[in-house]
Amino acid sequence: MLTALAALLLVVLASLALGVRDINPAEVWRALTAPVAGLMDHDVVLEQRLPRTIVGLAAGVALGTAGTLIQGVTRNPIADPGLLGLNSGASLAVVCAVWLLGITSPLGYVWFAFLGAAVAAAIVFSVGRGQPVRLALVGAAVTALITPLITLVLLRDQQAFNLYRFWSVGSLTGRGLDTVTALWPFIVVGLVLAAALAHRLNMLALGDDVATALGQRVGTTRALAAVAIVLLAGTATSLAGPIALVGLVVPHAARRLVGTDYRWVMAVGALLGPVMLLTADVLGRLILPRSELEAGVVAALLGAPVLVAVARSRNVVGA
């Protein structure tokens, strides 16, 4: 827990200080406490790095928690909102909103993101119920079903295409602070739900029968978890685009740190989500000499090896 907190503080500092123009921590502190207008370093910190850090914090918390929830409720080590097709469902709904209704502000399309994620979640959970591996494959199939539909809309609508290609890479820079101020209530509701469900997930980990015998309404747990997942994943997608694999990696890392008690995994997962997302963002700023890799791309680069490692592990395949 303390490790995760320390890591988060470190990454936030790095996110404020590092970039094309390196600013030393003392100067960052001065920019935050006593900003001098017109001073280049202070402007960079306040107007560029602070907003993207806050977007990263919000989206990261949402993704980390959503991933932990989804892995807990499905008892599935290879689940995440992206793998299970929720992100692509949200993307399709957003693209349709842009195309048919001309909505281009995140505040307008966040509702469509929720709707799309919810529909995708409903399909994936109803078809893939039971086996972990099948759930991941159903997610891939739903993504494969949705992708041509998105493409069809994009080929028809230039505006949607241009919005989509900058949004779909998953970036922390596209949205301003006003989006976060408008969307944070959804994240808070999702987090409260997740915190309330953590104890139930511990029982669910023992199997549906045991959980039922212990007096839990398994169906209610699943439904509440689904609501929280859709809220968190939908908000994260509206904030930063469809970012894959953060929700997959974070719970694994959290379990390494604090064991299998979901009350702790949930808390640490919420902290590690922004750690991973902001690390990806900072790395993306530094990796290329004159350009930038978006956080979503770096997150996929970091996350894919973890997915492969999990797939290689004995207990997933059972052979």
């Binding site: 739903v142 493409t151 080929l155 290609r165 890479v169 998953g170 680069l301 894919a304």
Partner: protein, 354 residues
Amino acid sequence: MSAPAPATPTRVTDTTVTTVADLRTLRRRRQALVVSGMVLVVLVAGTAALLMGAAGLTPGQAISGVFGLGDKGDVFVVQKLRLPRIEAAVVVGVAFGLAGALFQSTLRNPLASPDILGISTGASLGAVIGVLVLGLSGMALSGLAFAGAGVVALAIWLLAWRKGLHSIRFVLVGVGFAYLGSSLIAWAMARSQEHEAAAVLIWTVGSVSDVRGEQLTLVAAGTLVLCAAAAVVSRTQGPLALGDDNARALGVHVDAARVGALLLAVALVALATSAAGPIAFVALVAPAIARRLVNDGGAALVASAATGAALTLAADVIAQHGLLGVAAPVGIVTGLVGAPYLLWLLATTEKRSR
């Protein structure tokens, strides 16, 4: 008398022999029927593709155009625009159908297809880097896509290998690579000019509209060679379907046969994808249809290839003329058909297959 006792088995053997022979003929006839049915579909869809379009041609004009006679404009439309597109759809469809059949029979998993295994993504990634970063086009671009598919296939293979090739692990590692690839493609698209990005978008879905000339000849020749190789490999597919131990007992080098078949399949997919992009799910769906129609428990390689061609060409005609008023790339139609099939497959298969 004790004589009838030995006589009975002889008589039974006689009828057994004839029954087996009859069954074989029946099976061959059924295969021939399926293949000729698919060829018929190809002919019908091909005729439709020749006649439909902005320059409406009468059947007479179209036929004389095919032989280079008649009005110069018609000849151009037929020989330079419509025929190459039809040929490309057929060639690419054969390659995808055959590759899918090889994948599925070798891994003994109806889910195994290049779409899910991340090989298509590898080819796309190679092509996207080729267009947007290196500014390539034509043959060089196809080469890079081919290399991308090969490298990613090899990487998936090595990573999924752990005391043998487990198909579920194979599929999961493939999904990981698919994510990696699609995020890099998204990044490249966000970085590029608008018209380039649109071209890449169409390419990543799969389209047969720009495969012509030298490239078409190359892909067709390559597919032909690989088909011949597949005919050799196909002798081991029957025993392999009986399980590793039985195949070994029948004298098949199981690992060698499997590696050979998979290499062929990867080469076919890489070749087709390098020209036309990863046309979604043809490799998944075509063998499934073919197997069901032939229904002899075998891999149905020839029928799968024919079904692939019929499917791709029919989908292209629909994509070009029948969809929301946009001339859409063929991959959209095959994706919309294939993904629900995959979902259905996942919903109805209860047990995981090895």
